[in-house]
Structures are given as structure tokens and as C-alpha cells.
């Protein structure tokens, strides 16, 4: 039966989770070089924009309107009609493989290119 007092095995479980997280973090923290911004909508449509060129993209997916801003080598969702606002709260992304997801709209904003293209898929 499970104990109700802290056991050494608990520390092992927590250490394994932290080690897995840090290993994944190390693999994914590789800087982008000359990346692109790939925006995918729920209907499967895609659009690509250079990360180095500032612009604002307005898009609509599943009835939700998003405004994506590319500026100074960073991308963020500046405005969204979605209920949770998680995409807007994610803030700016700047590395290859970084991603912003708006689950209600089915929109994925991703930076591709650079060295970590492999893990970005």
C-alpha cells in the first residue's frame, strides 16, 4: 500500500521528472538563425513569413480572430478573441522550434529554420 509519509522513492520520482525536464530543455534551447514564422490554421492552411521582417498578420480560424505580430526577430499573438487567452499570455517567442498554440482556434504559430529544425519537425 502507498505510504502517507515521505519516502526516499518519492525523491527518486521527483528527481527523474526534473532530470527529464532539464534534458528536454537543454535540447530545445538552441538559438534560431534566419528562421521563418509558420502559421497553421485549423483547416490545415499554412502561411510562412520571414522572422527578420516586421509585419502584422490578421487571421481567422474557427470563428476566432487573431493578430500575430512579427517584430525585431520575435513573434507574439498581440490580440485574440479566444476565451482562455493562453496564446496571448504565452508572450513572445524567438527561437527555432518555439511555438504558440491557440487551442480554441486550432492555430499553431511556430518558428522554423535554424539549427533545431529537426526537433521542430
Amino acid at each position: 500500500m502507498f505510504d502517507t509519509k515521505f519516502r526516499p522513492a518519492d525523491a527518486v520520482v521527483l528527481a527523474l521528472i526534473a532530470a527529464a525536464a532539464l534534458a528536454l530543455l537543454a535540447v530545445t534551447l538552441i538559438p534560431a538563425r534566419g528562421g521563418e514564422v509558420l502559421i497553421t490554421c485549423a483547416d490545415g492552411s499554412e502561411a510562412r513569413y520571414p522572422l527578420g521582417e516586421d509585419r502584422t498578420v490578421e487571421l481567422s480560424s474557427r470563428g476566432i480572430t487573431l493578430r500575430v505580430e512579427i517584430a525585431a526577430g520575435e513573434v507574439r499573438v498581440a490580440q485574440s478573441d479566444c476565451p482562455g487567452q493562453d496564446c496571448r499570455k504565452t508572450g513572445s517567442i524567438r527561437r527555432a522550434g518555439d511555438v504558440i498554440v491557440c487551442a480554441p482556434a486550432g492555430v499553431v504559430v511556430r518558428i522554423t529554420g535554424g539549427q533545431s529544425d529537426g526537433i521542430a519537425g
Partner: protein
């Protein structure tokens, strides 16, 4: 209390198990609603970040009823939470997370004598598995493995939230034991 058990009647025992499972399902749904009200997204603004308090009810169903009851509580919680305050996407993500957490829970339950973890370790492992299941489902839903980028942060957060839920379980199980004994059943 009509359901007070004498421990002899299989039929009455079945009704008692059903009633206790339903009570845990209700508790899981109430805790899910509580999580909707908690603004954890302001601290860690990533989709899928939750305290995982509902897992407390699922784990209680596991130890006081059966692994099958825990699966039922988890499924009822995910389905009703999506119907009441979710979306089809949130249902899919919750289901993927719950399936991952349940798989690890079952693994720990079947090997509990060998692993010798407390509820804290069990809860943390379930929380981490929930994150993995959720990210896996999101990768399938959105057709990209890029979402794996969220996993390191979600894993670290799940270690913290799982520890918190585990501490709550470590504190509440002795109290639940006392209440359960009054109704003629105990931990499995």
C-alpha cells in the same frame, strides 16, 4: 445511513462501491470547477497548466475502491468538465492527459509493494504523465511535434503541482481512513 455496510452482502457491497465511486466523481468535478476559477495561467501562461486537484479524487477512488473505479471517476470527470465548462479541444487534451496519468497510476498501483512510494511520489508521477499525455495529444491534434517545446516547463510545473496534490493526499488519507472505517470499508 442506508448504505452502512455489514461487509457480508455482495449486493450491498456493490451498491456501496457504486455510491462511493459516484461521490469521488462528484468531488473530482467540483475540484475541476475550482481549478477553472484559480488564475494559475497568470503565473505560468501555458495551455494545460493546472494544479491537478481533481487527480486527488481519482487517487482516492483507486485506494478506497478499485483501479476500475478510478478509471470511471477520471472518465466521468473529463467528460462532464468538458460538457460544462470546456470545448471539444479541451476534452481531447484532458482525455489524453487523463489517459497518461491513469496508465502511470495503474503501473505504480500494480507495483506498489516493490516501488514503496508515498502518495506524494504517486501523485507527482501521475502529474508528469498527464503532461506527457496532453502534449502527445496536442501533437496529434495540431499535426506538429513542435508542441513538445512546452513539455520541459509543463514537466517542471507538474513536479510541483503533483507534489502539492500528494501532500494533500498524505494529509487527507488518514482522515479518510477514519471516515471509511465508520462505513465498513478501508484502503485496498
Amino acid at each position: 445511513m442506508a448504505l452502512r455496510a455489514d461487509g457480508k452482502s455482495a449486493g450491498r457491497s456493490g451498491v456501496r462501491r457504486l455510491a462511493v465511486t459516484a461521490a469521488f466523481a462528484g468531488l473530482a468535478l467540483a475540484l475541476s470547477y475550482l481549478e477553472v476559477l484559480l488564475p494559475l495561467g497568470l503565473i505560468v501562461p501555458l495551455p494545460g497548466v493546472k494544479l491537478g486537484l481533481a487527480n486527488l479524487a481519482v487517487l482516492l477512488a483507486l485506494v478506497y475502491v478499485s483501479p476500475g473505479a478510478a478509471a470511471a471517476v477520471s472518465l466521468v470527470r473529463v467528460t462532464l468538465a468538458a460538457l460544462l465548462f470546456g470545448t471539444p479541444t479541451s476534452f481531447a487534451l484532458s482525455f489524453g492527459g487523463a489517459a497518461g496519468a491513469y496508465a502511470v497510476m495503474l503501473l505504480f498501483y500494480l507495483n506498489r509493494k516493490r516501488l514503496r512510494v508515498s502518495f506524494l511520489g504517486l501523485s507527482a508521477a501521475c502529474a508528469a504523465a498527464h503532461s506527457v499525455g496532453q502534449i502527445g495529444t496536442a501533437c496529434v491534434l495540431f499535426g506538429t511535434v513542435a508542441i513538445v517545446r512546452y513539455l520541459p516547463v509543463l514537466l517542471l510545473v507538474s513536479a510541483l503541482t503533483g507534489t502539492l496534490t500528494g501532500l494533500l493526499l498524505n494529509l487527507s488519507v488518514p482522515l479518510c481512513d477514519r471516515a471509511a472505517r465508520a462505513y465498513g470499508f478501508g484502503r485496498k
